[in-house]
């Protein structure tokens, strides 16, 4: 997890487009400037970043469901719950289910587990738009490749 770069997903563990589900994994670093402020002497993973991790996980699912031809942007977060403190060094299992694919938007139900226990959940709505330009599309493909999202067979399909 590269918190300062907002790259919160380490790897895709499972992607099942038939069931419209994804599971990602991410380990929170033990050292980050984020923890110097949140909070001094009591480092906690900020809840907004847990929500962002659910949004990114849902985003990869939607991008994959769109054959990597479109991009997902966070539009709204509902019923977000931050159930317990999450600490530096902990590994998160972040899952999302694509509940509905609308025209230009998608609704996902996401969850984060830590040590088998649900620590956060939310309903995430994403706008689904064309990539703003070819460079962004290429950068997203590189990032997808890095985290293990297999798109080669689908990219030209």
């Amino acid at each position: 997890m590269r918190i300062e770069y907002f790259q919160l997903i380490d790897r895709i563990v499972d992607l099942n487009l038939a069931d419209r589900k994804i599971t990602c994994e991410a380990t929170i670093p033990t050292v980050s400037t984020v923890f110097e402020g949140h909070f001094p002497g009591y480092p906690l993973m900020p809840g907004v970043l847990l929500i962002e991790a659910m949004a990114q996980t849902s985003g990869w699912l939607v991008v994959a469901a769109n054959d990597f031809k479109r991009m997902a942007f966070l539009a709204s977060v509902k019923e977000a719950k931050l159930r317990t403190f999450v600490l530096p060094g902990q590994t998160l299992s972040i899952s999302s289910h694509l509940e509905h694919e609308g025209s230009g938007y998608a609704v996902c139900n996401a969850k984060i587990r830590c040590g088998g226990k649900v620590v956060s959940d939310a309903t995430i709505t994403l706008r689904v738009l064309d990539f703003p330009n070819a460079e962004v599309a290429e950068e997203m493909r590189k990032l997808a490749d890095k985290i293990g999202l297999k798109i080669e067979a689908r990219a030209d399909g």
Partner: protein, 93 residues
């Protein structure tokens, strides 16, 4: 008034916290009710789920941008209800 209009009026009232009495078949969702694009996503989601359809919002928006349609055709509620009825009928055909 059609059942479809009643259903979408109730969805709009609940989703956007707009008094149900102020929503009429002649209301324009954007111009009269002040619904913005983000709130309309919630409405579209609720309509999609309630009717088992997929409102073609992107195609409608494109048609309006291209000057091939007016927003009245899709966002005046009696017209929206008619479009929904067409989509439901097409689904069952």
């Amino acid at each position: 008034m059609s059942d479809t209009f009643e259903a979408i009026a109730n969805i709009i009232a609940e989703t956007c916290d707009i008094p149900r009495d102020s929503i009429t078949p002649e209301s324009h969702a954007i111009n009269d009710l002040g619904i913005d694009s983000l709130d309309f996503l919630d409405i579209a989601f609720a309509i999609d789920k309630a009717f088992g359809i997929k409102l073609p919002l992107e195609a409608w928006t494109q048609e309006v941008s291209d000057g091939k349609a007016t927003t009245d055709q899709y966002f005046v509620l009696k017209n929206l209800a008619a479009r929904i009825d067409e989509l439901v009928a097409a689904k069952g055909a």
